[in-house]
């Protein structure tokens, strides 16, 4: 097991190298010029060229790529073209809001979706099942930003229960922190809840047909015990897989949610950097995202062993 983990961690190196090459090349050929953005409308072409040179953007592809890779190996993600701040500092400033949003969304989604899926499977064919599936269709169909605006309208503007926008660090207290995250987490989690609920229902339906469930019933086990102890544990592997895959959904959805609720997270940092062509920031954030993906996948693989003793690495 330990050797497997080490092997997987080492395998991230070529993955990250390929991502780095891909991202750098893509940005190199993409249209846009940060020097022109900086120089503004009044600048002459000579001014733009001088700014480009001062930023090192006039150097050949290989020289720029080599310098960037060398810096990364030394643990330096570079400096933002615009803010003059280290990319690592900018990521550090933004990582807490994104992690907070993802964490609250995950907790919310799992705690709602798994029981929903279990109950829907248990009451298959009844109005409860149909209601859960209807909710799932709605969750998939309504875009995150629409859910976000609706929630803000009802709970912030009309009822004045929660703030419209913003983020408060957890260092300033749990209350203000969670207050700012409830609406974004519900908005972001709507798709996620739908996804997990559907998978849970489908997997549970399959498991509930198994012989050992019939045996458990014959032995007089209670309904709750059958559902949550016998069936759910055996249905967990596909559910955990979907939760892992869903992290990608969360990162993608966080970009929109962070904009709608003005949460200063990594999603907005990425979008802002792309719009300005702030290459070091884009490269740094995408590298971080890909690293997170690799780690999440590793974590999911390891979780399999907890739920299914037959799986061994």
């Amino acid at each position: 097991m330990f050797a497997y983990v080490i092997r997987r961690i080492l395998a991230t190196i070529p993955v990250m190298a390929i991502v780095a090459l891909f991202v750098f090349s893509l940005l190199y050929i993409a249209p846009g010029d940060p020097a022109a953005v900086i120089a503004g409308d009044q600048a002459t072409p000579d001014d733009v060229e001088r700014i480009r040179a001062s930023l090192g953007l006039d150097r050949p592809y290989l020289v720029r790529f080599g310098a960037w890779v060398f810096d990364i190996i030394r643990g330096d993600l570079g400096v933002s073209i615009f803010t003059n701040l280290p990319v690592s500092l900018m990521i550090k400033q933004r990582i807490e809001p994104t992690l907070s949003l993802m964490l609250v969304t995950l907790i919310l989604a799992i705690s709602i979706a798994v029981p929903m899926g279990v109950v829907a499977a248990w009451k298959v064919g009844t109005w409860i099942d149909r209601a859960v599936m209807g909710f799932a269709v709605l969750g998939f169909s309504v875009p995150v930003f629409v859910v976000g605006y609706l929630l803000a309208y009802v709970f912030a503007l009309q009822l004045d229960w929660l703030p419209v926008q913003g983020y408060t660090s957890i260092s300033q207290g749990f209350g203000p922190w969670i207050e700012n995250l409830i609406l974004p987490a519900i908005a972001l989690g709507s798709v996620y809840i739908a996804l997990i609920a559907r998978i849970t229902r489908a997997t549970m339906l399959e498991v509930l047909q198994q012989d050992y469930i019939r045996t458990a019933r014959a032995k007089g086990a209670g309904q709750r015990s059958i559902l949550f102890l016998h069936a759910l544990k055996n249905a967990a592997v596909p559910i955990v897989t979907v939760i892992g895959i869903g992290i990608a959904l969360l990162i993608g959805g966080a970009v929109v949610t962070e904009s709608v609720f003005a949460i200063p997270g990594l999603g907005r940092l990425t979008v802002d950097a792309i719009l300005r062509r702030d290459y070091p920031v884009i490269q740094g954030v995408i590298l971080l995202f890909s690293f997170v993906y690799v780690l999440v996948n590793l974590g999911i693989d390891l979780l399999y062993t907890l739920f299914d003793p037959r799986i061994r690495y």
Partner: protein, 530 residues
Amino acid sequence: MERRSFLSGAAAAAAVATLPGAPAIAQGSVANTLRVIPQANLTSLDPVWTTAVVTRNHAFLIYDQICAQDSNGDIKPQMAEGWDIAPDGLTWTFTLRPNLSFHDGEKVLAKDCVASIERWRKRDPFMQVLAPNVAAIEAIDDRKFRFRLTKPTPLLILALGQTQFPCFIMPERVAATDAFTQTRETIGSGPFRFLANEWNPGQRAVWSKNERYVPRNEAVDGLAGGRVPKIDRVEWTIISDSATAANAMAQGEQDYWEYPLHDLLPMLRRSRGVVVEQRLLDGTYGVCRFNTLQPPFNNPAIRRAVAMAIDQRDYLRAVAGDDPAGWGVCEGVFTCDTPLANEVGSDLLKVHNIDRAKQALAAAGYNGEKVVLIAPGDYPQINALSLVTADVIRRLGMNLEFVSADWGTVIQRRASKEPVERGGWSIFHTTSSGQSLSLPVFNLFLRANGSRAWFGWPDVPEIETLRAEWVEKGGDPAEGRRIAEELNRIAMREMYYVPLGYYWQPSAWARNVTGVFRAPATVFWNIGKS
């Protein structure tokens, strides 16, 4: 149940103590903090390195100027006690007010002003025009410095006090930075201090009152007069989504919104706690720019034919709504209601007739060449202008390719002089403040010096000759007017861009915000909260 009490139970249960490292925002009282939604994200802090308006607004908070523009556009002393002009007009001597100091406690000296002017003039287009007249800028003593000129230059004071690309005073060591490299310090002598440790680009930027600041005694007037910091903190929160920003204003979560989207103004006006008014002194002017190097718009007759089909009101409604109070027709190249504004030769812009434009287009020899219109989808106002032109081009029967991209792509593509088949362009749109179009020396769109002109690269030597003549004689109102009329006539004949009129960009602020005054730029001194 209200928000204040909604989560108090959860908060109490959690009982997570505030950690010692919490940012100072937690300590700032809302009553003494002006919470602002700026027009854009503050990403760069050096107003010489970048011309971004948001950076300029930041600079107005922390830096001071030698002289500044009042609400009539006149230049008044600011850091300067005053200035003397030698009888021959060749020496201008400026004297600084006593007791001026930088945020780090160092006194502001004449040498700081000289270094700051030297750096700024390497980037300011106005000063570059005047550069041949400037022999030297020298510090005489701690409080006096002078310009030595090769010939009398009355426009010097206008350049030094302008608002478009202001000359901000930095410490000499900071101003020694190359003009094409961003400075690393934000030390000024202005009414507010920048709190660099609280700056989170994309989220927040914060300034605190400069207790050492000594404002002038005069009442505030535009950017001139006493710049009194009346609030302890100014806190910008970046809210990129306009609907969210409007909701934050309506709920009292923010105090001031610099550029509300026009679509949301009715909603804000209905909100009892919000005031919506025009604060900037100038309107925002739109232009439709042709690429004069490539077909079909290398043919002036085709450009004129398109101009005949354009009705500025269509554009202004698309951007600012149906209420004519929100916009104005301005069918000339200079800012309306300024001394040089005129419509000499602007008859084509008054035709507004598609059929006549079609006839003119056929007579001009249009032969179905492709027209590539590049539009920034992420820039609502400019995108709206682009969509109206696209409609005009289609109705004229021209072969249009509408390319929607983000602003970053548009500003790179517009620099291409290639044919449209090789990544070039035919038309793009932009906007500009009225101030920037008020004088020939500022008016970038008017320049027609060929490959060195602004994008579109018109080559009209008469325009350049007249512009140089205006710089020479601009001090004489009658001569200035004559030159401006001639410039308008030739620009309309060549039609390398079409003026699209102007719209007002109101701001919104909470009712308890006091002291808001009209100015050529968004500044936050003299503003308080009741």
